[in-house]
């Protein structure tokens, strides 16, 4: 019984983890059709923000929850202004440009902090006991944060004026523009928000995974597969993709080992995209956000 609870907990954590690393990408891709290949590096920058801030004596919670999204969000806005806005509607070009950006960021961070960064940021919460098993309290916290984050993004899109305008722009940019919406500004804000969410995720994961200049590479593929499998809807798509792929990965990793866990994740994604080429939300929950 304890084992079932412990495995279930890991399964939910695996799903939350996937949702957390994918949400920032989903916002940028879902709203703007921009494939951001520097997404992994946004996560990495969030992690570095936390490491640098805590080494300078800043409270770790403040660094993770406030500083990381703020710093990476700002970087996102700058990137959008300097690079992305010239390339709207040119998917292959944005792909190349953001890939270049990703290499640039890795190179910059490596030359500033060195190839291997000493991170002594430890998960700030103790362990929780599940009968004979123990798990990290911080993982429980991350599950909670993921839920809150989804709720916050939902509220922003559904309840605020900005959300309404943003959704309108997403559905039909020309019409919104004709109605007096500054789509240019909306894009900038959306990109910044997407980057901020990525930064937050990166900051939160830093104590679990450590921080290296190249850590982004381990996230990017999974985040992409999740977002593409999820389909057009930002929240429902990411959630559905994470539950399906994270679930498959977790179950197979526990039954057979991590190698087949990864294989099962990819096989599930391939089968899914063969059956539903537009992702889960291309067929189900089509009206959702």
């Amino acid at each position: 019984m304890d084992l079932v609870v412990a495995v279930l907990f890991q399964l939910i954590y695996g799903i939350a983890n996937l949702a957390l690393i994918s949400l920032g990408l989903a916002i940028i891709f879902g709203m703007m059709r921009v494939i951001n290949l520097a997404h992994g590096e946004f996560l990495m920058l969030g992690g570095y923000t936390v490491v640098v801030a805590t080494n300078a004596g800043v409270n770790i919670w403040f660094a993770m929850l406030i500083l990381a999204p703020l710093v990476v969000g700002l970087i996102g806005v700058i990137v959008e202004r300097l690079l992305i806005r010239w390339l709207y509607g040119r998917m292959v070009d944005t792909l190349l440009a953001t890939w270049g950006l990703s290499l640039l960021l890795i190179g910059l961070v490596t030359s500033i902090f060195g190839a291997s960064t000493g991170t002594t940021v430890s998960p700030p919460l103790g362990t929780i006991r599940i009968g004979d098993y123990s798990a990290s309290g911080y993982e429980l916290f991350l599950i909670g944060v993921t839920l809150v984050l989804f709720a916050a993004v939902y509220a922003t899109l559904k309840l605020t004026k900005l959300g309404l305008v943003a959704r309108g722009t997403m559905q039909n940019a020309e019409m919104s523009s004709a109605l007096g919406v500054s789509t240019n500004r909306i894009y900038m804000i959306t990109f910044g928000l997407g980057a901020a969410v990525s930064g937050l995720a990166g900051g939160l994961l830093a104590p679990m995974t450590g921080v290296l200049p190249t850590i982004g590479a381990t996230y990017i593929a999974k985040a992409f597969i999740t977002v593409i499998s999820g389909g057009a809807s930002i929240l429902a798509g990411t959630a559905a993709g994470s539950v399906l792929l994270g679930g498959v990965n977790g179950i197979f990793a526990f039954l057979t080992g991590p190698t087949f866990g990864e294989v099962a994740l990819l096989v599930a994604a391939i089968i899914l995209l063969r059956l539903l080429p537009t992702g889960i939300t291309g067929r189900f929950f089509r009206k959702s956000i």
Partner: protein, 414 residues
Amino acid sequence: MSFSRRQFVIGSSALALAAPATVGRAQSDAIKFASILDLSGGLDIYGAPMAETTKLAIEDINATGGLLGREVELTMYDAQSTIQFYTQYATQAAAGDRAHTVHAGITSASREAIRPTLSRFQTLYFYNVQYEGGVCDYNNFCTGSTPAQTVAKVVPYAMEKWGKKVYIVAADYNYGQITAQWMQKFVAENGGETLDVEFFPLDVTNFGPTINKIQTAKPDFVISALVGGSHVSFYRQYAAAGMNAEIPIASTTFGVGNEQKLISAEEGNGILASYGYFEGADNPVNTAFLERLKAKLGDDAPVMNELAIRSYEGAMLWAEAVKAAGTPDRGPVIEALRSGLSYDGPSGAVTIDPQTNHCNMNVYIGELQDQEWTIVESYDNQPPADTALVCDLNANPNQSTFLFENGLAAAGID
């Protein structure tokens, strides 16, 4: 500065004329030493310190007048943690630069990618990394420690200390797979039991399901051969789940990338590891070496580990062989090395074993305490007994194979 078309034409024809001179330089005076290591990408935690000590070795050689009155010229290539670059740069170093020796490779996968190339171009090859053993190649000197030198020491030590039930976690490529087989063999030989073996692709960062399985299996200790930056997460997550207080860890890889600096003191305390070198190695050469390194690099000096020290010692072994042979040419240098050449380095005496082209060396077991290794046991002059089981270059020098490619059973070891 203005730049007319005429000047451009003159300039480029001068370049064209200069080109044959570059080709001719292969005959020039300098002795060429090429290094191919991962200085960026996921494996740079290993490559960066190796590059520092390689540079230091060449500086030291040149500071004492070079070799045979000639300067040694170092060319460094960054393979960026990508196997494809290894083959490309190995070809460049051997066929383009005409290097006299190539010191290259970190992962076993990279070694196997370039070993055939360097063999074909008859370019002397040094692999200065601890690895799973089994290379039997007249042209290739493996100076790092092998499982019979390290795993065979740390397994019984840990079993004595913690108990006989063992859980193995390893990286999913030839090093991890073969090392895991050695671990199982040594666990069985010492009367222990392997509960489970798990392999991880190099980019896995979530170890939650495995930690659950370890909790279910309840081993006396976990032994790890995890590799690379992402796998450091294992030790963090293990500690975050409170496991480090319950089930201790021994490792054959933790520390060669200075992982002890990447996790906090509490997360790492008590981890055991075994290598051919720790900074605490007690000999005057080591003390002098560390002082010199500190003086040169200041606080930026990386912590010295086996990979870094062996890169230095590998270069020095080669230099000694060139001096002994009186020429940098491959044939005589290999003969000089295989005469049982020895070098007193920071790790102690390192001696080439002509039967295998591996090294006899001192081996240490270290325990991690507050991010520093303390040597708890040392063994002098240990032979590469694993490779010696299957490889005899004295009897048949005409070999260039990796005998453990398909595992130990395929090589006739049970």
